[in-house]
Amino acid sequence: MSGVTVFGLCAAAAVGLGLYGLITNPQPLRKIIAFNLLGSGVFLLFGVVGRRGAAAGMGNDPVPQALVITGVVVAFSATALAIALLLRLFQTSASVARSGRASPGDDPDQVGG
């Protein structure tokens, strides 16, 4: 089993775990963490893709690395924005501060259409 395959499988596992967490966790903070795991899996996949350039005798393909760096910045800003919104929600509604243990009705995913 080559290194590329191992990393590819790791990427698939991270994506799978992230998707599972994002779908099943009711708490917003856990969803944000799951999103980061999912994103890491995708970035790892980009790394694997870049590594394939080595097989073509190019050393390493630099484009996926550039894409990953951009992607990391985007994911970082997304996380920062989500956390900022969540913190504001904690500040503005006192009830939400207890939502980790108490009523699930305070979660954003419970807001009805």
Partner: protein, 592 residues
């Protein structure tokens, strides 16, 4: 060896630098606003909006004179090494629609978000986000590379999400978090697709990729992942859990941008992906699935819109239905040789997008004026509003008429184009859906107008002054949408010849009257609230018969509402997203 880039992109076209300016000017405005601070932010925005409008006009005017699309190669590097910006006819139409809507919203918001009237940070943030949304949308329309589109899409989401929670109330913050998280799930799927495509073809440039892509299983899976990710951001049924709370909770000017423009960003990328990157790959079944989701969105959105008690929620659900309408073009563009053809159906879809952008923004602005005037927006409490706020109601009515597809509105031309395509492709079932969509639209527009024109129970007292300038902006926008059918579209869109609108003919009259009459019937049948005829003695026999039928319809619509409640749960919606990705992959693999 990589094949050489097509000659088309070998160099920047003469007016190509305008494409960079169209993105750079709003971003410069954002930075300048941060430097100058609260007091000058509105001034900066008012300086940037005309400048950007002028750039857009220049670009749109330059497109017909250019032989191919306008191209700018960043750093003069041709793809696949560099990144190209391109504007073709489709992009020009969307750029123009965006510029018109944002300018009107800026005029409308001029009074609401002037810094002196409120102490909060909302005005400062609003103007910055307005410019940021504009930059992100322009980047989506001119971006010629799937990864550039990803970054632009994320910028758009980051600019749109805070618009939802401008007033900082807990429920809008919840709506914003939910919107952000679901959008992030969608964009990760899109990014996963881009990674797979890059791994296979070593380029993400749209033109290059369209030459290299074939029916490899991995390409099809990537396309399915990207499509479903983008559908989540466009809020196509059943992935709409975030849209109604987000669009109804935002301030009116924000809702106008979110509903009119932001959902069109991801829609436009789907169009690029299906029509330009892989026109030969999706296959018949996948296009049918996409339009079937659209048809379901029309039924769900319209039925739910008729059951809403608040005007802004009604408009938000109407957006849900209209998004469904946009996806009806995909099967109609599918020609005999198994390709998605950039013909009349594509033109119809894009026109529908542009006319919905203008009309829906006008509707939200009018609803905002009504909310500001009355202090509430309960539909049953709208009686007499037409006398005190005539301009707002007129703007709403014009926008509604434009959406229903009365000639010469853009929606009517779009409907003609799509119907023509349905006849050519012999897919009569989509013609039925198209007509039903118009009837449903008429139903909820007429429901609101009937309440607004009804005599008041008690004299209407306005809580605030009527925003004259804002109403005029909404009215102009609604008129734009109403007159879009008269614009010569040939230089931009592949419009086949359609007989010019004949405004006096009997056929035209019946074509406009039928949806309206159907709409009246639907509004009476599906709205759970008492209708104006219920107490009339003259129609007693008819009402008695009607009521029996109506009870059945109400049961149906309450089932729809319950089903919607289930679909709007997070686990259900995100599972739907994954199922759709799976379904699209399977359908495309079978077709290949």
């Amino acid at each position: 060896m990589l094949p050489p880039a097509p000659a088309l992109d070998a160099a920047t076209t003469p007016s190509g630098f305008l494409l960079v300016l169209s993105i750079a000017i709003p971003i410069a405005g954002v930075l300048l606003a941060f430097v100058l601070g609260d007091r000058y932010v509105r001034l900066v925005a008012f300086a940037m909006v005309p400048l950007e409008l002028a750039i857009t006009v220049t670009i749109v005017a330059a497109v017909p004179h250019s032989t191919g699309p306008l191209v700018y190669l960043l750093g003069a590097w041709p793809p696949p090494l560099g990144v190209a910006l391109r504007v073709d006819g489709l992009a020009a139409v969307m750029l123009a629609a965006t510029a018109v809507v944002i300018s009107a919203v800026a005029v409308y918001a001029g009074a609401e978000f002037s810094v002196t009237t409120t102490k909060a940070r909302a005005p400062f943030v609003f103007w910055i986000l307005l410019l940021a949304v504009w930059a992100a949308l322009n980047a989506i329309f001119v971006g010629g590379d799937l990864f550039t589109l990803y970054v632009a899409l994320e910028l758009l989401t980051f600019a749109a999400v805070p618009l939802v929670s401008l007033d900082g109330r807990p429920e809008t913050l919840r709506a914003a978090i939910r919107y952000l998280l679901f959008a992030l799930l969608g964009s990760v799927l899109y990014l996963l697709g881009t990674a797979l495509l890059y791994g296979l073809h070593a380029t993400l440039d749209i033109v290059l990729l369209s030459h290299r892509i074939g029916a490899e299983p991995a390409s099809l899976v990537a396309a399915a992942l990207m499509t479903s990710g983008l559908l989540a951001k466009t809020a196509l049924f059943p992935l709409h859990l975030w849209l109604p709370p987000a669009h109804a909770g935002a301030p009116a000017a924000g809702s106008a941008i979110l509903s009119g423009l932001v959902v069109k960003g991801s829609f436009f990328i789907i169009v690029r992906l299906w029509f330009q990157v892989m026109p030969g790959l999706p296959g018949f079944a996948a296009t049918q699935l996409l339009a079937a989701l659209g048809a379901a969105a029309i039924v769900f959105g319209s039925v739910l819109a008729l059951r809403q008690e608040r005007l802004k929620l009604l408009i938000a659900y109407s957006t849900l239905a209209q998004i469904g309408y946009l996806f009806l073009m995909f099967p109609l563009a599918f020609n005999g040789s198994g390709h998605l053809e950039s013909g009349g159906a594509l033109a119809g879809g894009l026109l529908q997008a542009a006319s919905h952008a203008t009309a829906k923004a006008a509707m939200f602005m009018a609803a905002g004026s009504i909310y500001a005037g009355l202090g509430h927006d309960r539909i049953t409490g709208l009686g007499g509003i037409a006398r005190v706020l005539p301009l707002s109601v007129l703007a709403f009515a014009f926008a509604g008429i434009a959406l229903i597809g009365v000639q010469p509105s853009g929606a009517s031309l779009a409907k003609d184009l799509l119907l023509q395509a349905a006849t050519e492709r012999q897919q009569w079932w989509w013609a039925v859906v198209l007509q039903a969509g118009g009837v449903f639209t008429a139903a909820y527009v007429l429901l609101v107008l009937a309440h607004a024109l009804a005599p008041p129970d008690k004299p209407v007292v306005l809580t605030g002054p009527a925003p004259r300038l804002g109403d005029v902006a909404a009215l102009v926008l609604a008129l734009c949408s109403l007159l879009l059918g008269l614009v010569p579209w040939e230089p931009y869109l592949p419009v086949p010849y359609i007989s010019p609108p004949d405004l006096s003919g009997l056929g035209t009259l019946s074509k406009s009257l039928l949806p309206v009459l159907g709409g009246v019937v639907l509004a009476i049948l599906l709205s759970p609230r008492p209708h104006p005829f219920a107490s009339s003695v003259r129609w007693k026999v008819a009402i008695g018969m009607l009521n029996r039928f109506r009870r059945g319809c109400c049961a149906f619509s309450s089932y729809v509402e319950r089903g919607n409640g289930v679909l709007c749960e997070w686990p259900a919606a995100s599972t739907c997203l994954l199922m759709l990705a799976l379904l699209f992959s399977v359908l495309m693999l079978v077709a290949a």
